[in-house]
Amino acid sequence: MRTAIIGAGTVIYQDEGIGVYAARFLEENFTFSDDVTLVDGGVLGFQLMTYYQEYDKVVILDTITMNDEVGSIYNLPSEELLGLGSYKQTAHEVEIVEMLEICSLLERMADVNIIGIIPKDIETVNIGLTPEMKEMFSKLVDVATAELDRSGIRYKRNLDTVTLEEIIEKYANPQSEFKNGYPTNY
């Protein structure tokens, strides 16, 4: 089963990056079979279509708005997000949900789940997470792996652990990990 695990969000807006960190955490700490792709998401927009259309299963890790407490986690099947309709005067912001709508017009679409957490602060310009998100982070990862289990996607936990702190560091100081393949005197 071709599977994409997408971490969506913009890491420079504090808790907005939690989905990106979660996908990266899975990538660093688990070994997946070759048909599983981990995507460092950004917002993607239309590029999401490739995944919705060419994969069988898509798991998106993201932040969500919901009338509930900060830190609450939801696992939303895509059908639930279709037809929400209230698009404020046709201003369709073409993102994750809107791409679902668009792709539902096509013949083939992956089984999509959005695993979302209610963030605390998505306005401060900072690469990092609030304490509330840090506390819920391992739970978010557990929900993601549970969804993979449910879908029959196999993976193995690695012996060495890369911590959340280390992952955030990779985004805060990106050059450190991009050395590979660059000229030695760069």
């Binding site: 590029q47 509330e132 005197n185």
Partner: protein
């Protein structure tokens, strides 16, 4: 009595843009205000960083335009370090950006803008047989518009409508009398809307061939590119070419033809200049065609400034004349034309909206009312984007741009029944802005084919160089540079000041800063605002014409938060964690 229309948010793509328009008793827009309601302030994150990191962080500014910010930022640092990249690197960068252009423009026209011109529900009333005939009126080789294909698509869309599954199209202004295409024309456009969904997937693959991992490419570095293996691999080159051939077929036989068709039907609005606005156009220039160094090289899109729609005069671009005025933006600063980006500061000063008697919150338009600053060029307001690039190209008598623009104007003249080509001034309009984008897409698709061959030939001749060496400690002591080039939606500039190996100041002026900016210190309008003045709105409840004009700029106030909004739907049964521990 005048009425106020508020459209918020207006982008079909991420971001938050609000338009307030005032209309008179005849439904004509007499005043307009554009506001971004979301603070960005991304520059602060770059201060104190290693300048070689800037690109990787700058690409996170926007979740959609990642590659463009990445490249601009790297070029700003290269300019500061006085590093000229090798030929292979130059062509690879052109190919990545070129693929972004055609992808962006096709998606913009069909998926973000077409529904302002095309009535989907109208397509259901079409006769597919007549529609296939109609398609042949506009080109001898229509794309995917045979009777059978059109019938199948009509049935598919019909089914969705019956099932109430037109979510993405819900709440559009169907039936508005300012939709002017015939049922058959609507059907052709709807078919291409759906076919473009598949097409854009291929275009997005083209970006990844040399860009590497999408959506966050990693193949560019200060001094060049890292995809040495890819450029030496004939299979990668051939894959790029084959995707480009498919793309060009769609661009020429669907996109350009649909724009010609819509341009003909909506010609009155182009001829009377609806949506023209400022008529001051600026292009930074982009797509270097030789290796004589960054700002010396000839480029596909020339740089320059055109004022008052006068295509007989071209003013050379001088980046020192750019300033950012904050008098109507929610930032600290003097009430004047503002600072050059090298000196720029970004200190928020939010003064909020004002709730009036009707209970609605309005922009305080006499004061500060947007998170976007008002950039000025030589103390003048400017429009940037495809229309500006075409205008500057025509004014500089650029052979390529003149050829592609003329070809379109000649065809338009014919379909309008004129004896000559349509006048170049038709591009100074909302319709023209949309046509300019299609014209440059055709140009781009064609020249890219030549670039791939140029790259392959250069590599075959034994030049494998992809990176120019530099002594970091030496060049980063005290340096200043800018990466100014053309993103698909307009001029994008990154300015960087470097001291002792660290970034001391960083400012990005994005295309939508130019176009979506509020009033300036002299109370002159920004490009969106000016473009709305004088437009007649058919129905106040359905301000279709406002969307049309604003969308024609391809707005992206992105660079922002994109959270999944569940619109208040009851979803508690999908909650995973019980009452949270924090």
């Amino acid at each position: 009595m005048s009425k106020h229309i508020i459209v918020d948010p207006i982008t079909r793509i991420e971001g938050h843009l609000r338009i307030e328009a005032v209309i008179d008793d005849n439904n004509v827009i007499t005043d307009a205000f554009a506001s971004s309601t979301m603070f960005r302030g991304i520059e602060t994150i770059l201060k104190g960083r290693d300048p070689r990191d800037a690109g990787l962080l700058a690409m996170r500014i926007c979740g959609v335009c990642t590659g463009t910010h990445y490249q601009r930022s790297i070029e700003a640092v290269e300019d500061a370090f006085k590093v000229t990249i090798p030929k292979n690197a130059r062509i690879v960068r052109n190919l990545i950006q070129g693929a972004l252009y055609i992808h962006d423009h096709v998606v913009h026209f069909y998926h973000l803008h077409a529904l302002d011109w095309v009535d989907i529900t109208g397509a259901l009333k079409a006769d597919p047989k007549l529609a296939a005939k109609e398609a042949l009126k506009w080109t001898d080789t229509p794309y995917g518009a045979g009777e059978g294909e059109l019938r199948a698509i009509q049935q598919r869309v019909g089914k969705f409508v019956e099932q109430g599954r037109l979510g993405i199209f819900s709440n559009a202004y169907w039936g508005n009398k300012n939709y002017k295409l015939s049922a058959e024309q609507n059907l052709i456009a709807v078919a291409h809307y759906l076919q473009a969904l598949d097409m854009q997937r291929d275009m997005s693959k083209m970006m990844a061939i040399f860009g590497g991992k999408m959506p966050h490419p990693q193949s560019l570095i200060v001094g060049g590119v890292t995809c040495v293996q890819d450029i030496q691999n004939p299979a990668r080159i051939e894959q790029y070419k084959s995707l480009l051939r498919k793309a060009n077929n769609f661009i020429k036989n669907a996109y350009l033809v649909d724009v010609l068709m819509a341009g003909t039907v909506y010609a009155d609005e182009a001829l009377d200049g609806t949506g023209s606005g400022l008529k001051n156009y600026m292009s930074y220039g982009d797509f270097k065609l030789d290796d004589t160094g960054f700002y010396n090289a000839t480029s596909l899109f020339p740089s320059g400034v055109v004022l008052n729609g006068d295509l007989t005069k071209l003013y050379p671009l001088d980046q020192t004349k750019i300033t950012e005025d904050v008098s109507h933006a929610w930032y600290e600063g003097a009430n004047d034309k503002g600072l050059h980006p090298f000196e720029g500061v970004t200190t928020p000063k939010y003064t909020g909206l004002e709730t009036k008697e009707d209970g609605y919150a309005y922009l305080k338009t006499d004061e500060k009312y947007s998170w976007i600053k008002s950039p000025l060029y030589d103390d003048t307001r400017m429009e940037v984007g495809p229309l500006a690039r075409i205008a500057v190209g025509l004014a500089s008598n650029d052979a390529n741009i003149t050829k592609y623009a003329t070809k379109f104007l000649v065809k338009l003249g014919k379909t309008l029944g004129l004896e000559t080509a349509a006048p170049a001034s038709v591009i100074f309009s909302t319709v023209g802005r949309t046509a300019a984008r299609a014209i440059e897409t055709e140009l781009m698709g064609d020249v890219m084919m030549g670039w791939v061959d140029e790259l392959a030939a250069n590599v075959a001749a034994g030049d494998l160089s992809t990176w120019t060496e530099f002594d970091f400690d030496e060049v980063s002591k005290d340096a200043k540079g800018f990466g100014m080039a053309e993103a698909p939606r307009g001029g994008l500039g990154h300015w960087v000041v470097i001291k002792d190996g660290k970034i001391e100041n960083y400012q990005a002026v994005v295309p939508s800063t130019w176009n979506a900016a509020p009033r300036d210190y002299k109370n002159r309008m920004g490009a969106y605002e000016a473009a709305l003045i004088g437009t007649k709105v058919a129905s106040v409840e359905q301000p279709l014409e406002i969307l049309r004009t604003i969308h024609s700029f391809d707005p992206c106030i992105a660079c922002a938060v994109h959270i999944v909004d569940t619109k208040g739907k009851e979803l508690s049964s999908f909650k995973v964690n019980t009452s949270c521990a924090v």
